[in-house]
Assembly symmetry: C2
Homo-oligomer: 285 residues x 2
Amino acid sequence: MMQTMTSINHPADRLCKAIDTAGAPLCVGLDPVQEKMPQELQQFEALESFQFFCTGVIDAVAGVAAAVKFQSACFERLGAQGVALLGDLRQHASDEGLQIILDAKRGDIGISAAHYADAATVDGPCDWITVNPYLGIDGIEPFLDAGLGVFSLARTSNPSGNPIQAQQLQDGRTVAESIADVLATCGQKYQGQSGWSSLGAVVGATKAEEASALRNRMPHQIFLMPGIGAQGASPQDVACCLGEGHGALVTASRSVIYPVPKIDWQSDIAEAAKTLASELQSAMT
Amino acid sequence: MMQTMTSINHPADRLCKAIDTAGAPLCVGLDPVQEKMPQELQQFEALESFQFFCTGVIDAVAGVAAAVKFQSACFERLGAQGVALLGDLRQHASDEGLQIILDAKRGDIGISAAHYADAATVDGPCDWITVNPYLGIDGIEPFLDAGLGVFSLARTSNPSGNPIQAQQLQDGRTVAESIADVLATCGQKYQGQSGWSSLGAVVGATKAEEASALRNRMPHQIFLMPGIGAQGASPQDVACCLGEGHGALVTASRSVIYPVPKIDWQSDIAEAAKTLASELQSAMT
């Protein structure tokens, strides 16, 4: 009997299975902004437009992508109603077989981190959440212990991250590499049958050389890699991290959900997702 | 004609004024957890208990504290309804003359940070928000440019922060000190008539020696200092950062909102706040 997705308790094992089912390590980022949506959705109230657009994207990429990543800020901006809608949309995406990543970049410790872990599933399902490591493992483990997968920031692609993350420590490592070592050590406790840990790392795809070095420091961390498409990185830039397809989940937002109009917006989005999935398949070893 | 609080546009100037009015740089942290609330509030549903308790705390500390700090995680844990309640409570506290700090520790960049800034005021008012600096100033300036005050994490008091924040860089600074320098430089653009910047820093009161060094690196940053009371630091530990009373805002949560029962819970909370305010007055130079 085939194991169903939801029956797999370990977040990393579940994500690997979703990647296998989709055939590519593709995640589609949902960063809804009404002004960028198709013309026909501009007439609606913000909440309605979010609902139509996100449902449309989810339906268009189900079966092609392994996961969707919701940018929490876009929904929180609409207040409590936006938070409720985000929960409903997570449920819909999960029902469509997609793994759910809540891009919330939370960073608090102890009981507050445990509260944030509760918050991630109170209005709808969540498989993985993004977390900020500046407070150390006190800010990471409560999420893991609650059964969530965690993608901790390690090396981000924005220029102003350099003066912090790229600084050299006295022991020769960069700050980002020291974070990587903390994650690799902590993550050992949370390895699944797949060999991958529920503690993963966010590594910008635009930093290909650094990503390769970080791969060596974090052999059991699945990388969540933004930066493909609109930010300029190519599938080849992430090849070193993909391995056979479970080593990295490549996430693209703007280049997939706001494509150049050709047929109709849902078909265009499906097409953009399929093209990127196919490029990622070619980059797998 | 006396300037009213809400007519002061600059967050740091407004906070200085609130400290002067209260007579002490005291902030009361609202970290509501139903199990810790007074017995008589245990019978209610979670949302109701939060509303009664937080309203009671706000009314008890208005006129004594300069500000209240809401732990966002406690409310988000209750889902969209908790987020709506948090907005209502911020409005009530603001109406009572308290400055509002949203302890959300957000950390995202560019448009996402701008969305989080919008989110901080969509359901109710907000004067200051806590932010995580790991992504650099791209994650800080959008909040400042939206008119909010920002307390960026610099040096936290939790033990697992050490392996990251206390690391030595090749130039001799610690990672926390390098963050301090980034904040001091960025904060120059956001100084008010008081001389203080809208970009402040979170510095744990339990790290008295480090706090003093960080004070020298950040002469125009108001420090938000947790760690007094339940975490073991004393008002004397923060004296070096207070100056004449505007240099630091001392925030206490558990020791004020969950005091040893004596008279009735609201009187006990008011008494705990007054005692700490008086101790802080003595520590001012």
